[in-house]
Symmetry: C2
Subunit: 334 residues, 2 copies
């Protein structure tokens, strides 16, 4: 049996190109005692992948050259060589990487219930992006009823959940997204109070108009000019949650720091970074609550599914061009 | 009786110049019922003064054009028209401004005890800079015994107190200052563990050498490249206290934001702004504790005193050139 794998061959400067990854086809090794074979159905595509390719100190080691590209994956156990914790047919998820099969002793693989949600949802709203949103806005942003919450990347996998949780908790929510369709989606389908299209609106004047009272909590997925604009609108004792900086990940030189950071001083505000893995012991509890909201219809999940491991780079690029609608997922089972 | 006053005539772009202020001599008005006349002995010179001249939203309104330049002042009550709260000879301090006399109904003027400390000390270690240091490092920085604390502007009015309080609380303290004399002072007279001379050392390699384990708390008075370097050395769950950004106050264009701010994410750290006025209800308690340390000799205070209100601009410039040793004070009584 052959395993198509996406191998990191060269560390990109700026955007990945045709030399960054290579598609290889390798034989699936025989299982050793206690191992399981997982056939991946879907791969998760996330902005954080860009950072994992840089050879710099970060919250996890970089992907090594000539190794399978790191990614969240979900699939099914199709072989089991005496591992008592899994059965054939179990639906499981972990850091499987961009490939069609994983061989594992089971460590780090979690069983999920396909009756409760689809596989792509377990990579999105009930996976890392959803957990990031949940703990970021509740534990770091510490939102309270009545807060004015601004979120960037608002139609994305994390931002869309951040905004919906803030609505569930009784906040006023303004979302920043790229393009009319996404703005329409967050305002009319997800129930955000206001939407700002950063591609067609001046962000400073849009903020002035759409959150005239300022911001209590800003959840930042993008960095750059939008972070700067948000900092200029902080209310007293505001909180800025630093979740990511997608606008800066492909910079060839140093990233642009927020030149309005002294607004933190003027408004006595706090800017705090977060990494979702820190909350892993509470993922189960969070997923349970998120599922309740999903069932009740107060939380909506949208996945944008592409097909074919051969199309990995083209699909990955959509993360940064914004040509996607919701959580980006690649189907790799043939 | 005439009152020499420094009047703000033009808002500076970059460094103040000869058109920024004007020295005027005006008659001291007659006291109305309930008013007191205070003769200023000393004026406080602080980096924050630069910000007060900008016509932008901040934590206090800008100094109005054609008004006396805002400054902390200390002096004595020399006339009293039936104000029951003050006596002739009382030593008092408030926002008196850069002038030789203040007329007031007494609101905002606080009596201090000249037996416990000198007037210049009440503008420094027992005044706003000392309070900023005390609440900044204890309430915002929340230092614990054993923390590694880095402070910039370490020989200055705020930084020198920050570092000494951190030493009193059992921290390892590294100070960044400009020039050998200042570095010698903080290390050998104030007892800091290490000193970095940013004028002669590369800040990144000096940090690598002098705090190899990284930083738990960074107290920032300067911004710019030093803030960026400090961010690159944060330990997990570190705290960055944003107190000021003296390196950026005279920029003619926008200030340089910290391009290493994503280190907050990697290390799950917090950057928080502070304004000392927020703690004013506890100033008395803090001054009492600081005075205990001063009497015990564990806290040292150094003031650099210049003379003559005519020399205000030349003296003010020393804040930004660094040509001063300790808290900068101008004697305005003739």
């Amino acid at each position: 049996m052959n395993n198509k794998q996406i191998i990191l061959k060269n560390r990109p400067k700026g955007f990945p190109d045709e030399n960054t990854w290579q598609l290889e086809e390798n034989k699936v090794p025989e299982l050793e005692e206690g191992e399981i074979l997982i056939q991946h159905h879907y791969i998760s595509l996330d902005p954080a992948m860009r950072g994992w390719m840089n050879d710099t100190k970060s919250y996890i080691p970089p992907v090594a050259l000539d190794h399978v590209m790191r990614a969240g994956a979900i699939g099914k156990v199709i072989k089991n060589n005496n591992n008592p914790n899994f059965d054939i047919g179990d639906c499981v998820t972990s850091w499987g990487g961009v490939q069609q099969y994983s061989v594992s002793n089971g460590d780090g693989w979690f069983k999920v219930d396909e009756k409760l949600a689809t596989m792509p949802m377990y990579l999105g709203t009930l996976g890392m992006p959803g957990m990031t949103a949940y703990f970021g806005i509740l534990e770091v942003g510490k939102i309270k009823k009545g807060d004015i919450v601004l979120v960037s990347g608002a139609a994305g996998a994390v931002g869309s959940i951040v905004g919906q949780i803030a609505k569930i908790k009784g906040c006023t929510v303004i979302g920043i997204a790229g393009g009319q369709e996404k703005c329409h989606y967050i305002k009319n389908e997800l129930g955000f109070d206001e939407a700002i299209d950063y591609k067609s609106e001046n962000i400073y004047s849009a903020l002035k108009k759409k959150c005239p009272q300022g911001i209590d909590v800003y959840f930042d997925n993008v960095g750059g000019v939008i972070l700067d604009a948000a900092l200029s609108k902080l209310r007293m004792h505001a909180k800025v949650v630093i979740c990511g900086a997608i606008s800066q990940y492909n910079n060839k030189h140093k990233i642009n720091g927020p030149s309005n950071y002294l607004s933190l001083l003027v408004t006595r505000s706090t800017m705090q970074g977060m990494v979702v893995m820190d909350y892993s012991k509470d993922f189960g509890k969070a997923a349970k609550e998120m599922n309740t909201w999903l069932q009740a219809g107060t939380l909506k999940s949208r996945e944008d599914i592409y097909e074919g491991i051969e199309n990995f780079r083209e699909t990955y690029n959509r993360l940064f061009t914004g040509e996607k609608n919701g959580k980006l997922v690649l189907k790799v089972i043939e």
